[in-house]
């Protein structure tokens, strides 16, 4: 048996899903959080049934890729749990009626039930059940209220299939008007402070000021948490404890052996340079844990808070005019912000955009000019050492590239950009449990997916180094690397390793004794050039071979142009 969770965007389907199956999925307070589908299993008596979290859709007449996915899934389900936002009954019932016309058993979960009271909405449940002819269960998924009743109603629903006539759009709305009039009473009440803030944040002047405060605040909080974790926790741990273990091991292994180079790398005397030594147990652990992880934690904590508060769609409204200059509309700001964490989920999130053209532009801009958290952590760590102004040059360059490339793509990419049309959810106070859980999922995801690649990359680096292959590549590419970018020819090894992991690649620039200017050029070229392997795969899947080849071509040329110009200017 297969149960589908369907409903309008941002009604809490993913939270209901987590509650039913125990499988954690990313849930946020903006329409379009779920773009693919997630499956999980729940126990129903003795039986194990499949539950699918379907992307949100307003209607069964699809208007975006995510809605298309939803419509196709419908044919594969046995029961639909239609999650409905109780505070917005009328609009939500449109999909409910469409589902009922499909003659598939439906259970309505009337979610966000707790909010109806604050909002002065009174719904007569019995009457609604009678009029719809299906079970209606009030739920508050975020606290778990009503979930047991919801699960309990599934076995009884299996047999009963309601019958509904197929209606036209106007007939459906008329029927809904009829139902709403009978079951819902709305009493007037005053604006709450969060509604006042909600209105202010989509007004041009006040909204702009709020956006600046939010973005600047988020940036400083991320840096503060990241630096504190590094300075007070992780660096002392590595410098004072792990260094002793490494030195002991080093003397046991003897300085010159093959195993020593692989595990510990190059160390001189009785000091371990964790950034430059490049062994599996030195840089292989120090880069992911002491340089990148703190920023991953800090960034995703902040992003989680922003996502759950409901601020992001408001930012999309504010950014809409600017984003249209880049061939996108305001909602593209959400995948771009996700890209500051990791480009892979960001490129997946471009599915919330309607047209192929927008998705191509957004995916290309993300992979060229939006550095992921791991890369940024390394840029802060290594370039920041030479002075904040150099970090500013790196970010400034990426920003300028983002704008210029966006403008070019706007005119060059075929098709048109549709206009913004989004629902703006109310502000909600993020629930700390949900935020921590989401943070843990993302941090765990980083460790599970990035750590093996980082260690693999360092292994590959050492083996290639021992075999002398890097020397050959370096000589071959010297004209470009030295001539155009002004970097020593050894820097090409970093550019090659950038295909595996960009954080490790920036780390490889450390032992080369570069000037600050060279480090800036190296970081920018690394950030912009070839995508890392994980991004490469997701680009291929989302854009197809032709799109991916185009995007990659744009990346490499843009990287060489920007790097070359920087080399001349600096």
């Amino acid at each position: 048996m297969r149960i589908l969770l369907m409903g309008n965007p941002n009604v809490g389907k993913s939270v209901v899903f987590s509650r039913l199956t125990g499988v954690n999925v990313i849930a946020s307070n903006y329409p379009g959080t779920t773009v693919g589908y997630t499956r999980g299993f729940m126990k129903l008596g003795e039986e194990k049934v499949e539950v699918i979290d379907v992307p949100g859709t307003y209607t069964l007449e699809p208007t975006s890729e995510a809605e298309e996915v939803a419509r196709r899934m419908l044919d594969a389900g046995n029961i639909v749990i239609n999650v409905v936002d109780a505070t917005n009954l009328e609009r939500n019932l449109y999909l409910t009626l469409q589902l009922l016309e499909r003659n598939i058993p439906v259970i309505v979960a009337l979610n966000i039930w707790d909010d109806t009271r604050h909002r002065g909405i009174n719904i007569e449940l019995d009457k609604l059940r009678e009029l719809l002819g299906v079970p209606v269960i009030p739920t508050v998924a975020i606290t778990g209220q009503g979930i047991k009743e919801l699960a309990g109603s599934i076995p009884n629903t299996n047999a009963a299939s309601p019958e509904a006539p197929v209606r036209s759009r106007d007939e459906r709305w008329a029927a809904i008007g009829n139902i709403v009039e009978k079951v819902q009473r709305v009493t007037h009440r005053h604006h709450t402070w969060s509604e006042r803030l909600a209105d202010a944040s989509v007004k041009p002047l006040r909204g702009g000021i709020i956006a600046l405060i939010v973005i600047a605040g988020a940036f400083f909080v991320v840096r503060f948490i990241g630096e504190s974790l590094i300075g007070y926790v992780l660096e002392p741990l590595f410098e004072n404890l792990w260094a002793l273990v490494i030195l002991r091991l080093s003397s046991l292994l003897g300085g010159e052996s093959f195993i020593h180079q692989i595990l510990i790398g190059k160390i001189t005397g009785d000091e371990v340079n964790f950034v430059e030594s490049f062994g599996l147990l030195t840089s292989g652990l120090y880069v992911p844990f002491a340089m990148v992880l703190p920023y991953i934690i800090a960034f995703y904590l902040m992003l989680g808070l922003l996502e759950d508060s409901g601020y992001l769609p408001r930012l999309a409204v504010l950014m809409d005019t600017i984003m249209h200059r880049l061939g996108l509309h305001g909602y593209a700001i959400i995948p771009i912000l996700l890209g500051l964490g990791c480009n892979v989920p960001a490129i997946l999130a471009t599915r919330i955009l309607e047209s192929n053209r927008e998705r191509f532009i957004a995916a290309t801009l993300i992979s060229v000019a939006v550095p992921c958290a791991a890369l940024q952590a390394m840029i802060f760590g290594l370039v920041g050492e030479r002075g904040g102004q150099y970090v500013a040059v790196v970010y400034g360059t990426l920003f300028v590239v983002w704008i210029i490339l966006g403008i070019i793509l706007r005119y060059a990419a075929r098709g048109f950009t549709p206009e913004l049309l989004i629902e703006i959810p109310p502000y909600r106070l993020p629930q700390w449990r949900a935020v921590v859980q989401k943070l843990w999922m993302r941090v765990y995801g980083f460790l599970a997916e990035a750590l093996p690649v980082i260690l693999g990359a360092i292994l590959v680096i050492n083996i290639l180094d021992i075999l002398g292959i890097f020397g050959a590549i370096a000589n071959f590419t010297a004209p470009v690397v030295t001539g155009l970018l002004g970097l020593p020819k050894e820097a090409v090894t970093a550019l090659v390793i950038g295909f595996l992991r960009k954080d490790v690649a920036v780390g490889m620039l450390a032992p080369l004794a570069l000037t600050a200017e060279q480090l800036v050029v190296g970081s920018v070229v690394l950030a912009m050039s070839f995508p890392c392997i994980a991004t490469f795969i997701v680009l291929l899947r989302e854009l197809g071979v032709v799109g991916m080849v185009k995007a990659t071509g744009i990346m490499v040329s843009a990287a060489l142009i920007a790097g070359g110009l920087l080399n001349v200017v600096l």
Partner: protein, 84 residues
């Protein structure tokens, strides 16, 4: 009632309320707006509009929706008596 009372969303003042009377567009636009419960007969209030032909934000049934300028221009509203 005709004349000054019927204007597109883009020309409403912030805070004004009215009733949608027509959507001047093809089936696709009518459908997309209807999915968000913006259709003839619905009462709406304008919350804000962005500068430089930016999106218009309206409230319909206690829910806020942001609509791109071009689309908003094709949603015709009859203003409430009090707002004229």
């Amino acid at each position: 009632m005709t004349g000054g009372g019927e204007i597109p969303l883009t020309r409403m003042q912030t805070g004004q309320s009215g009733t949608v009377i027509q959507i001047q567009g093809g089936f696709g636009l009518v459908n997309r707006l209807a999915a968000l419960n913006i259709r003839p007969g619905k009462r709406i209030t304008k919350v804000s509009s962005m500068l430089m032909r930016g999106p218009v934000t309206i409230e319909v049934d206690r829910t806020q929706v942001a609509i791109g300028f071009g689309m908003a221009n094709r949603v015709i509203v009859e203003l409430d008596e009090a707002a004229k």
